[in-house]
Each structure stands twice: as C-alpha cells, then as structure tokens.
Symmetry: C2
Subunit: 476 residues, 2 copies
C-alpha cells in the first residue's frame, strides 16, 4: 500500500521518480483528470495554509490590502501591453463558450492579473491622495502545461500576487526590494531554504517589467529553482492603461508600479530539497503535524498517558497528532510518519509511562533520546527549533558546496556538465551570447547577485567586455 518503503526509489538513483512517488504516497497531492493539473490534498494544502498565514500577516503589516479580481480577462485587455501579451500568449487557456453560446470576445483565464487590475486602477487613481495603491490577491492562475510535474509545473497553481502603484519610481523600487526581503525571510525561516537574490537578465525578466528580482534556490542534482520574483514595472503598464494622477502641483503624471508573487511551486522546492530516501523531511515551521505520538501497544494506561502528552503539547501550541489506530502495526506507523516527514516522533511504552518520560526520534537525523514529561513542552519546542535550524544548515552547506567560480569557458563547461550547481562567471550581458551558452551547456543566467563585485576581464563565452560576474545554473 501507500507506506511500503521498499517501493520507494532512492533519491540519489532517480530524483524525479523519487519525487513523484514521495509526493503521491505521502498524500501531499494527486494528479487531476485534465492534463497538466494537480489536486492539493489536505496534507499538502495545509503546508500552503501555513505559508499563507505567516505571509499574509507580513503583507498586511506593510499596509497592503487583500482584494479579489475576476479570473476572466477579455482578450483585448491582455493585448494592451505588447511585451506582456507576447510573453504569455503561448501559455493561455481561453474560454470561448459561456452560457451555451459562442462568445463575441474570448476570455483568457488569468495567467497573472496585471492587465485586469490595472484597468481598474486607472478608474480608481485620480490624485496623489489615492497613492500608494497597495493591493494583494491570493488566487489561482493558469499557464498551460502539457505534462504535470506535481507542484513544480502545473497548468493551474495557487499564489499571491501583490500589485502596487506609486507616485515616484523611488517608492516603487523600495517596494520591489521590500517584497523580495519578505520572501527571503519566508524562504529562510519557514522553508529552511537559503538562496541567492539578484536581478534577472533582460531575456529572463518578467514580460513587461523593467527589472525583475529573483530568489534562486538549489535543488539536488545541482539544478536551480526560481522560487519567487518581484518586478519593477516602471511606467510600462501605467502608460497604455492610462493610470495617471494629479500630483501636488496639479500636474498629471503616470504612476510607477510593482508586482511580486510567490506560488505553490515553493512546496515542490521544499519537498525536493529536504526529502531523503525515507520520504519527506518537513521543517517544523511548515509541518502540518510537528509531533506524532504513538503508544506502542493499545493498552488503556498507555493511551491515557499518550493523551496527556498530546494535551500538554497542544496547549503549548505544538501541532500534535495522536496515532492510536489499532489496525496498523508499530513498524507500519513509523514508516508512515517518516514518509510524511513529521519532524518529531514520540513513542510511549510501559517503560516511558513508569519513568515519566517519552522516547523521541528526530526525523532529520534519526537521533533518539528521552525527555522527562515535566519538561516536555519546553524541550519539544527547543527540539523543533533545532530540527528547523539543522535542516537550514544542511541546505546552506549544500548551497555553499555547490557554488563555484569559473574563470574560463573550459572550467565553466566542466562544472555545468558535472552538475555543480551555481557557477559565477563573467558575462557580457548580450542576449545572443546568453542563448549560445544555453545551447551548449543548458545553463542560463539565474541572476546578477546584489553583492556581485565589479570585474575586469572578458566574457567567459565570447570574450567581449564583461563588467560583472553573473550567477549561472541549469534551471527547472
């Protein structure tokens, strides 16, 4: 059945096979009936709810308000910003029939909401008093995919998209960076996933943006995952959508805009980065169940003792589950909760009850020990912090060990072929050269990191003048 570990492929043997199997058997997700779609099962959706809860508070703290815009965008509206529509055209799902009739104007299912939101902004913004306009949406978007890669690449996914309008470019830019800093905090502190922040090259930036910031994380096999983005839209949308305002001097000006999003793709990165041959390893802050308590035998005294332990932990705010199913063996239960990545497992037998303690096993290291019940809540909270920190530490070491510097083309090619992760190399910033590098090595520019120092020397590939060392990787 679902929890037979012997059926699980090794992570190191075939990452994608391991990944699919783990996602399905841990009951995070399932395939939907239409091509490219997926079902977020309760265990997977609960992770997204935990992300939402934390991020929603951070978004609101900034004064950004939630709203909801229609998902159907009349085709004409999407065509108002040329680069934008060209970027998204190949990925659109289109409604042509409504209420039994062929529609006069086709409706695009939103791939992102710039156009439909900014059409409204043009009606809502009149004066500098109406700015900044700070709106966020939690919703579903559609970008056509023929093959599903659960969480990582699906036709429909869930995300938040923030869209702000400002009186000055300076204020807009500040928002672009604020959003990326928020994402970094979420990724580091919740997902336990370190990554590199930087700006995208011209060819990799968002369709319609002047500048895109990205957070790039590293997956096993050395591939980069673009984990979220924050865009400086300049006045690229405010001009065609005519979003102007009267400034304090009574002059009409176009607003400066930003948009920024983080999606359920992030959960794919979480699974892939932290999981091992036994299954998921969920960082405690995103684990729907942080502690599972298992009585080793279905005896009333043990059950009572286990219930007390559960109550103590729940009272301390620990997401705790009692597994008292009598239709499963102890071995089956251990496998099940390891597969599901629960950070801490407590086992309770006669010895523990008499000794007034519990036996714990850490999912991240497998380490086992006992804790006195008197000290239970404090000790478990500390343990969960340790697990969180240890998963982050492992991911950080992996990132460091797989970030290299190449100073010539031969080094670069060797590193890329060897799946060596992120490679920093001088690049001339010409799109054509970038395309050639991709053709030859599959690697693309992931970003120009904020801390990239000025460089002297030629482009690693073409030898032309290069002023900065960009960060390259093969990407998902």
């Amino acid at each position: 059945m679902a929890y037979e570990k012997k059926d699980l492929p090794k992570k190191s043997d075939s990452l994608s096979e391991w990944y699919n199997k783990i996602v399905l058997s841990s009951e995070l997700a399932d395939y939907g009936p239409a091509k490219g779609t997926m079902i977020f099962r309760p265990y997977g959706y609960a992770i997204w709810e935990l992300v939402q809860k934390e991020m929603d508070a951070m978004i609101k703290d900034r004064g950004v308000e939630n709203a909801y815009f229609p998902m159907f965008i009349p085709e004409g509206l999407l065509h108002k910003e040329q680069e934008h529509v060209e970027g998204f055209s190949p990925e659109l799902a289109v409604v042509t029939i409504g209420g039994g009739e062929e529609l006069k104007e086709k409706l695009v299912v939103r791939p992102t909401s710039e156009t439909i939101m900014y059409d409204a902004y043009s009606r809502w913004v009149h004066s500098w008093r109406d700015l900044p306009m700070l709106i966020n949406q939690w919703n579903n978007v559609v970008r056509w995919e023929k093959r599903t890669y659960l969480f990582l690449r699906t036709t429909e996914f869930l995300w938040q998209e923030g869209h702000t309008a400002h009186a000055t470019h300076e204020e807009a830019l500040e928002t672009v960076h604020w959003a990326m800093n928020m994402y970094q905090k979420i990724y580091r502190e919740l997902f336990a996933l370190p990554g590199y922040i930087g700006r995208k090259s011209e060819s990799e930036k968002f369709a319609g943006a002047d500048m895109t910031l990205t957070y790039e994380t590293l997956m096993p096999e050395g591939k980069a995952l673009q984990s979220c983005t924050s865009h400086d839209l300049g006045q690229n949308f405010s001009k065609p959508f005519n979003i102007n305002f009267q400034n304090k001097d009574g002059q009409a000006e176009f607003v400066w805009q930003t948009s920024w999003g983080l999606s359920t793709r992030s959960i794919g990165g979480l699974i892939m980065a932290h999981g091992d041959d036994q299954g998921l390893r969920l960082p405690p802050r995103l684990a729907p169940i942080q502690v599972v308590v298992i009585p080793v035998r279905p005896e009333p005294e043990l059950l009572d003792y286990a219930r007390e332990v559960v109550a103590t932990l729940q009272k301390a705010g620990v997401r705790t589950k009692l597994d008292d199913r009598d239709s499963e063996t102890m071995g089956f239960k251990i496998n099940k909760w390891e597969l599901k990545g629960v950070p801490v497992r407590l086992e309770i037998g006669k010895r523990e009850r008499e000794g007034k303690n519990v036996m714990y096993a850490r999912r991240d290291t497998g380490a086992k020990n006992t804790i006195a019940v008197d000290d239970l809540a404090v000790a478990i909270l500390k343990l969960l912090d340790e697990v969180q920190a240890s998963l982050f530490g492992q991911a950080e070491r992996f990132l460091q060990d797989n970030t290299h510097t190449a100073d010539n083309w031969e080094e670069f090619v060797t590193m890329m072929e060897g799946g060596r992760g992120f490679v920093r190399a001088r690049w001339c910033e010409r799109a054509q050269c970038e395309a050639h590098i991709k053709e030859k090595t599959k690697a693309t520019t992931r970003c120009l990191q904020n801390d990239a120092l000025p460089e002297q020397g030629g482009c690693i590939h073409c030898g032309q003048k290069a002023e900065k060392r960009w960060t390259f990787a093969v990407a998902y």
Copy 2:
C-alpha cells in the same frame, strides 16, 4: 465625488438603484470588464475574510480538512451524474483552447466541484478505515450570468464547498444538519440576519441531491434570498463515480455523501438588509473597521490624544482606524464613514481632550453620547455588542412582521402582490401546481420549515390534499 450623499437614492424609492450606488460608492466592489463579473475591492473582500476566519475555525473543529482541486473539469466527468449536468449545463463557461491549440476534450470551469472531487474520492476510499472523508475548499466558481448584480448574481463568485463521504446514511444526514446549524450560527451571530431553515421542494433542490436544506433570509421589498444550502446527496454520486468501500464485514458498499456551501452572495444580503439612506450599516462582527476616530481639527494635542485612543482600542482587539486626513472637511469625513457603515464613530475635540472623554455616534441609531477614556475599551466593546444586537433585533422584527399565513388563494395572491414577504400556506407538493403558482404570483416554495406542523385541508392553489404548510416568497 464618491461621498456626496446628495447623489444617493433613497432606499425606499428604488432598492436596486440604491443598492448599486451604495456598493460602488462605499468601495465594496466594482464591475469587472467581462459581462457578469465583479471586483471585490479591499473593503468588500475584508468582510469575506472575516467570514472565512470564523467559519474556517468551525469547519476545522468538526475535523473537516481544507484542500484544493483543479477548476478545470473535463466535460466527460461532468456528465457522469445526469441530473447534475442537466442542472448546470445552461450556466457553464467552457475552455476550448489551451496553449494555443484547440482542445480534444473541452474543459468546463467548475460551477461546483462534486464531479472532480468524487472522481478522486473513488481512488482514495477503499476501506471503512478511510471514512469519513471530510474535505472543504475555499475557492472560486463560475455560473454564467449576462448581467451583474454585484455580490448577488455574478458569473464568478467565491465560496466554500464542503464535501463529505460516510459509511452510513445516518452519519451523512447528521453532517447535512451540522453544516446548516453552523451556517445559521454564522448568519445570526455575524451577519445579524435571522432566517428560516427548511428543506427545498423537489423542483428547487440541488441538481443531484436527494434532499436540500436551505437558509432563507428576507430582504427589503419582501423578497427572499436563498442564503446557503446543505445537501444530502445519498448515493447519487457514489454509484456513477464508483466510490465504494469494504465494510467491517468485508462487503463492498457505496458511500453516502453530502455537500454544503456558503458564498460571497451572503455579503449582498448583508448590505441590502441592513443598509439605510445614509449608506451601509455593517454589523460590528463583520465590519473591517469597527470604530473610526476623527480629531475635529488637525492640532497636535488633539492628534496625540486621538492616537492614544486608537492605541487603547487596538490593544483591546477593536478594529480601529484614525482618520487624520487634513485634506477633507469634518462633514465630508462624517458622510464618508456613515456611507461605509462603520458601526461607531468617535469625535475628538478640545472639549473631549480636556474632559478626558470622547464623543461617540452610533451608526445604527445615530445616537450620540460621551465615554470617559478611563473606561474606553470596555465601554466600546459593550457598545459594539449593542449595535450588533440592535441590528439583529431590527432584522428579526422585520422578518416577523413580514411572515404571514394564508388560508385561501385570494389571501395568498393579495399578500404576494403586496410584497408581504414570507407566506405560509398549504401546498400539495406537486411540481406542476408549484409552477402554476409561480406563473400567477412569481412566488416559489422557499422551504418546508423544520417546525412546520401537520395540516388538514386542501392545497391553497389546486385544492388537492396538502399535508404541510410550506413557506413561499418571491425570491431573488
């Protein structure tokens, strides 16, 4: 501008004109660019977030878990339950193009998720150990409308849909009633909207259900609003979808199912029932801003004092806003916050500062008085409870005053023509007779209330045998 009260139509002159104007000018919502669609602006969406927060906790307390299923349903799947597809066919939006290509199988945008969820349930349910399956979704659904009636009738709306599967019909029925009781609590305690609970007639029930429970509220002009529903689906879906399980005796059985939903339509009812000629009157428990604090002049001492008042209230958990805009007059501000329905307005001038008190005005009654700041938080919390109770009391009196009993056809017709609200009358329960009553009076059976007593006598319309007194009204 938006807050010029003189532009507002009187509620009693033209309800629909008043309603549209209030919704737009209070910034609850706006029209979307595609026919039938609407935008939930931040002030309107915040009401939905308050509903979600309360209801989500109640749903989870019952052990129901949230999940997310794809919104694209392959046409073939929708056709598996015949009554269901016939009921929804006229309202569907259909995707025929994806990724630039004509699709082989068209995709329906979910009008509700029975079919796509139960297709998955058939894979997930094997044994009695997998039951009950208790899943809820918060999502967007589409039912085609040509004309938008903001919140009340829109092509896309937001809702929650709960879908459960059980081993016995008894357990399923218990869930149907639990859901309706939860909705009643939400409507009475949050929306301050009393209503009648009962079961729908055969022709009015959900397409695919054996039995539908409804909560019917009363709007001005005496029209009923179907405010949410809870369905006993019997085995109508489990048979075509083949959702069966092995019972404890090893026999295969089909599951018993329920579904239940409450949508953003509820916000339309809220606006319409409680609003008055000055604008919205929001019940405190659903008011995004419960108290607005306005310094009467932009003087530093008054501002400081106002900020202290705001801090005190926010600390006590009151959703409080300081309106210190110096670009608007006091009269403009008062109109604005009355229009937006904020339950309590505090005004702060020199007299209040020196007297260590604040002047309050209640939105529901217009009553004004002062409160000592020493007593502020407690007094305001009490005041908010009073406003909540008073709005409920008014709605309850309105419901009682507009619920009548008709014992013959003449009485019935007169009451319906006079917009007298709910009319209880004996009915034979024949669909044909129901259709004739609707033709002649526009009234439909709203429900058979749970407390309807057995009756002797003939159907009010056709004279045939009638065993119960049904509740009729003209409906939205």
